[in-house]
Symmetry: C2
Subunit: 282 residues, 2 copies
């Protein structure tokens, strides 16, 4: 039997530290690397990132938007990148931010989380605007087969506060973001002694206080935290930003690593991973 | 110069009525039709729906999740379906519910709304969880080139209320859904005498009162309303459900039409469109 996603993620973080390499084939970056802005070019870009990441970090996160931009050719590239990453033993989080209801949501779950799907990943990011509760049923079968998900809770962009800090009716002072975290814990059936399979996305520099995401609200949840590196947060900030749940954070960096270019990529990953190794996660 | 999306949609609705045919190649439905559950099968399914829709309705809405389920092969099918629909003069709304920030959002906009993209549609559905305001910049260039978007505001599923009716801080009694509608109007620069290019998604049977979406909040916005037909709302309900903004509603039906099977499809579309023709939209 395959270990659950939470257990596999725990092992990856304990072995390699919190750094997650974002696979973001942004057109301008792909061209900086000397590759063509095409399906073939982003395939090559993605495979180089996978190759440099293998053995150096535990987790990678392909950003689906940059592949989708090239239509079917982009998805063909993404299929190859996902397969290479999983074959290399990396935990793969597809950053797709999908969200829908009923059978439509089942379609997305089948795409990203079913064994043998051409887009199979270990976990996917999800958007809860249609109701975090509505994700429960869809995720149940994915969880049963060892897959995971990260539901958007709080993001770092300033416009996000309006919605994420809004107060849920009839629930005291509960915010939208806190409700999402609570539903993620329910959907994942998190236990007290290990990470659950369903986590949340919390931007590294998100104002957690404003959106009501206390350490207690995040306990036992895997936390995917974009925003480290070029976007402003540094490894040494991890403990200050995430307190006693810092051990459960997947710290995602993209530009800070990818800007090294294809030849210096591995060295840059070692350098960034080294900075996290110096941090006491508690 | 191409007419703006709002103007083109107005013409389509005035010419053909509010019915929009959903292109939902759900696996079970594709097999009921006698087609293979594969990229080739959903391509055939989608093209048959386009062929039957052309000249009978003004708008079609492919559901991206059902194509994504087949990975790159599914997207190759979707490219062909989108092209065939646009070539047939249909207004095409890609129901993708994408949402992200900054350059990532630009990637999605480039995929669905840029001229010459393999996935080019006339409009796309968007998810505002990361802040409806954050969509403004991204949409500006799409709007300038005649494209449109529908931002999720209120959906019909019971779990959706929790988030969509939450109260935005410091904004009186404004709900999340009402804020989304207000931002859509700002992003689209809606004028008083025509439809703007940016609209909202409001489920036909969504509890508009609970989420604070008055007729006034929806004025001049195109409204994409899934949930007609098999999902519970009938054409005769349109005026009661949408009041004085009923004229701006794109009434989307999927299963009620697709269940006819490939041979009786055109007749079923005529039948359903006929029911809307009897409704006084005010």
């Amino acid at each position: 039997m395959t270990a659950g996603f939470g257990a596999r993620l725990r092992t990856a973080l304990d072995t390699h530290g919190p750094l997650c390499v974002g696979i973001d084939p942004h057109v301008s970056l792909v061209e900086e690397w000397g590759f063509e802005a095409s399906g073939a070019g982003i395939r090559e870009f993605g495979l180089r990132v996978v190759e440099a990441s293998a053995g150096r970090v535990g987790v990678v996160k392909p950003q689906v938007a940059f592949f989708e931009r090239f239509g079917a050719a982009g998805f063909a590239a993404l299929e190859d990148v996902l397969r290479a990453a999983r074959d290399a033993g990396l935990v793969v989080i597809a950053d797709a931010k999908r969200g829908d209801i009923g059978s439509t949501m089942d379609g997305y779950a089948a795409a990203w989380l079913s064994a043998g799907s051409p887009l199979e990943a270990d976990a996917v990011t999800l958007n809860p605007y249609l109701g975090a509760d509505s994700l429960r049923d869809t995720l149940a079968s994915a969880v049963a087969t060892g897959k995971g998900a990260f539901v958007l809770a709080a993001t770092s962009n300033p416009e996000a506060h309006v919605l994420q800090s809004a107060s849920v009716h009839g629930a005291g002072a509960e915010t939208v973001a806190a409700r999402v975290a609570r539903e993620a814990a329910v959907a994942g059936g998190a236990s007290v002694d290990s990470l659950g399979p369903i986590g949340v996305v919390v931007g590294a520099t998100a104002d957690r206080e404003a959106v009501g995401l206390t350490d207690a609200a995040l306990e036992q949840l895997p936390i995917l935290a974009p925003g480290f590196g070029a976007q402003g947060a540094e490894p040494r900030d991890l403990r200050r930003l995430f307190g006693r749940v810092a051990r459960n954070v997947v710290a995602s960096e993209s530009r800070s690593i990818l800007s090294a270019g294809p030849d210096r990529l591995a060295a840059r990953i070692d350098e960034r991973a080294g900075l996290y190794a110096e941090v006491n996660l508690g």
